[in-house]
Amino acid sequence: MTMRNYFPWAAGAVLVALPLVYHSPYPLHILIQILIWSFAYTSWSVMGRFGLVSLGHGGFMGIGAYVTALLWNHLGLSPWIGIPIALLAAGALALIVGWPCFRFRITGHYFALVTLALSGIVLQVITATRDYTGGSLGYTPERHKAGESALLALQFTDKETWYLIALAVWAGGLYIWRLVDRSMSRYALEAISEDEDAAAAAGVNVTGEKLRITVLSAVMTAFAGALYCQYQMFISPDTVSGISVSLQMVFAVVVGGIYVSLGPTAGAVITLLMAETLRVSFGTKAVGWDNLVYGVLLVLFIIFLPKGILGSLLEARWLRRRPPQAAPAE
């Protein structure tokens, strides 16, 4: 038992110490990307695991990235102020769309399609306001001073700093996931996802619970978008917004495992490493191949392994350790 308690701390210490002994920029770059996207995927799964399948998270991520960058470039507002404003904006949007959705019992397919419209709107607005946002050509936050790190502008030139920031944010995301997992809301939301009427009859505030988790998830996703923008220093509607980003989130989470805390992270590791491997080994010839493999894998996973890789592994281990009679009745 002690082994299990110490393991997360030991793993955490190794991850924190990594950049102190290992400086190679390319692997660090990959690790930072994995951490940022893991955080984004974790944010999605916070609500996705309760059957609230949103295809609008690309929209929230786009808001996080673009609001932060626009405030910095046009008003000179530091990301320290810009990011909270972006998070507020994403939270407000989640409220505006979520409240009527839940109030009027828009669930399942309908919810997925309404949120899909939301991603579409954000993408089109970014493209339509191309005088400010650069449209589909993308957008770059202005450098504070060329080639210099600046705490105020949240721009760092060394990968080590970014690695530690991304690591902290990722760990924070897992902590939030765990808080939700341990809260009463979890039981309420699980009851809601099984049967809304029964949950409401049992005294669960259906609209309130769903709204809280949606706003939480949207704000986290927007934060991931802002972080991505600050790290990458380049955003375009296709990389941080729109339907393909939303689907990419869903895909990674489903592959990794939607019901376990490290599932989204596993999904990010698998998908990003696969994309990188394909890109490095095939170069420009690989354009499209990564998504081709994703697509096939997504279909295969949903048909054969709906709990995801990590979810299925953990379950297999769990079943083996317990006597058969303790296995859950399906």
């Binding site: 689907l247 869903v250 489903v254």
Partner: protein, 289 residues
Amino acid sequence: MQIFDIYLLEALINGILLGGVLALLALGLNLIFGVIDVVWICYAELIMIGMYAIYFLFTVYHVPFPLAALIAIAGVGVLGLALHYLVIAPLLNAAPINQLLATGGVLFFLQSAATVAFGIDFRNAGIRLPVLNVAEMYISYARLLAFGAALVAMVVVYLFLTRTYTGTAIRAIAQDRQIMPLMGVDSRRVYLVTSAVGGALAGLAATLLVLQYDVHPFVGLSFGPITFMICVLGGLGNMIGGFVAAFIFAEIISLGGLYSDLEWGYVLAFAFFIIMMFVRPQGLLARRS
């Protein structure tokens, strides 16, 4: 003032013509949802494949356009059949959201398969149809043709559903999924026929769209979302509702595009959609259940 009115009228007419095509797009999706209870997120990508098929048949192999169109319609119909057989059938009893996501995987697959096979160039079939000039208004002949063909297709589907034995079985399954197999209807066969018809409608849409638009691997993203919104706005599975919603959407896009950029027309249409979802969550012509 006179000139302004002409533009307005032109936008209105173009909206109606666009509405015809959108209604056709929505029809196939609604048919599939109504019968099989599955949303093909990748529906627009099937159309994209159809557009490529016509493009290559017509420009590279010099097949006459009507024949190329027929081949594309049949081909995408087979694709729909395969989609059902390979992806949907194993998931028929899974959670609805899993079916949605699986077709999302197919979307990724088709998009990137097209990227790998054809590259990301914009390709145009190069068919230039004349532009009609009626009373100082310019109306594209391609749009008129698309509108007409869409209407004819809808009438044919309607007749198929109401006048044939298979069509009756399809409508019966849509009304009650449990009882019909007990009455001796082979639901698997009905599902396959529906998928093929849905695919063929996607092929027909491809035929009409290739006359007006360039084809590229991501062309599906430009009209896929709008198709879903039309279906949801009309009430998923409700074909008449989808028909009405298509015209409302087309007018919003067309008129919004008249006063500002085309993107704002889309933004307006999407915002309208979200608002309507709150006003009439079960669709425009909802039957209260």
